[in-house]
């Protein structure tokens, strides 16, 4: 069970290292977005800073995760079909995308904090929230990418399908990240929010495992 997942992961990492243009493409995307933002505004208020940060995460994720299924050609999918089970395949994709997105989120946080002002008072806590957020967003978009790949490889469809679904998660994340700006929360509300986000994440993984076998059949 675990061995094929590991092999698939290794394949994705190797592909990423050999075709570095995609990886650098995303990094450049992050850097230029943050740079343009820093040129257009002087000082950002904490709320705006927070909102813009998550919007950037959303678009970075669309760009980073979108190709995970779009790059697989029909022939390659047929080959995977004959050697691994759909559950192994989707788990490998999820793990890979979550790791990729967490990395990208942390890079964008770093650039964001360097180029713009930094209203975060509890940096470690905010980094933790960013890791949780990046993972959550990439989970949703992994499945959306799998769906969109079936619809004639239509990349624009990922945004259309994913945005309404990601909204509740994003609202919760924005709420939660206010904790790092010294906003006072009701007793236990912070734990409740974190629990809700983790619960939603587990739900998404469960749904992906249940539903992906239906997407996979041609």
């Amino acid at each position: 069970m675990l061995n094929p997942v590991f092999s698939l992961l290794k394949k994705d990492v190797l592909l990423e290292l050999r075709q570095q243009h995609t990886l650098y493409g995303i990094l450049l995307y992050i850097a230029s977005t943050v740079f343009v933002l820093s040129l257009s505004v002087q000082e950002l208020e904490a709320n705006v800073w927070n909102g813009l940060f998550w919007v950037i995460q959303l678009f970075v994720c669309v760009n980073a995760v979108a190709k995970s299924f779009l790059q697989e050609s029909k022939g390659k999918m047929l080959y995977y079909y004959s050697i691994v089970s759909p559950i192994q395949f989707i788990i490998a994709k999820i793990i890979y995308n979550v790791c990729l997105m967490i990395g990208m989120s942390l890079v964008s946080l770093l650039l964001y904090a360097i180029f713009l002002n930094n209203p975060v008072s509890n940096a470690l806590q905010f980094a933790g929230i960013v890791v949780l957020g990046g993972a959550s967003i990439s989970l949703v978009f992994t499945l959306m990418s799998a769906i969109a790949a079936k619809a004639n490889q239509n990349a624009a469809l990922i945004a259309i399908l994913g945005f309404p679904v990601i909204l509740p998660l994003l609202l919760l994340l924005m709420q939660l990240s206010k904790a790092a700006f010294n906003e006072i929360f009701r007793e236990g509300a912070l734990l409740q929010l974190t629990g809700l986000i983790i619960g939603l994440d587990l739900l998404i993984v469960g749904m992906a495992v249940v539903l992906f076998p239906y997407l996979w059949k041609e």
């Binding site: 949703v140 499945l143 769906i147 079936k150 619809a151 004639n152 239509n154 469809l157 259309i160 399908l161 945005f163 309404p164 679904v165 909204l167 509740p168 609202l171 919760l172 709420q175 409740q192 929010l193 809700l196 939603l200 739900l203 998404i204 749904m207 539903l211 239906y214 997407l215 059949k217």
Partner: protein, 239 residues
Amino acid sequence: MKVNKSWWKIASFLLLVYTIVGGFLMEVPHLPILNETIRNLYFHVAMWFGMMILFMASFAYSIKYLRGFNYRNDIYAKQFAALGSLFGILGYTTGAIWVSVTWLTDQSQSIGSVMKEPKLIGAAIALLIYGAYFVLRGSFTDIDKRARISAVYNIFAFVMLFPSIWIIPRLVGSLHPGAPGSDSGNPALNFKDVDLRLRMVFYPAVIGWTLLGVWIATLKIRLQLMNDKSLLPETPTKK
């Protein structure tokens, strides 16, 4: 006695006649700000109930489709989703009328703060999800593939919709009843919250509107089943 199988259509008609006549003429509690607009409860809230029930039907038929790959179930899922969206739009419209004479005028809320209402956001998410569902359906030419992939999206999206409509509005402050602070659970089902005089019309109204929605959906389903007759596997017609 033979039970007429269209009894529920007659029931729907009678309940809606009662809703409209009773809703406009019967006694209602007099509350500040709300005044007579409280009668909108029978129309506005009933729309959201109808929408949720129709979306649930669509969700159930999508699951059924994935279990047997019967094209009939895809038609059911699509038409229930379409009718649910229509109810959602009507819910928005009735809500907008209600807002314009209560929150905006008497409570002097700005449009901006009304738009940030968690329930409005939840409803907007629902409509966007089903909008995306129809866009997704439109992007396929292969009927079987369209049915399968859109069923997967429908199931996933409905499950994700659930927290945004039922959990998040309960966690954050809201102008609607049912937010924290108003110490009620689900305001529509809580007996302490809704006056007896309102409930006498409200529950029949919910049932009546929902039945009407199902009725319209079944008509559209029958029409499409006839159009796509050649695509359907031979099934014995139900008696």
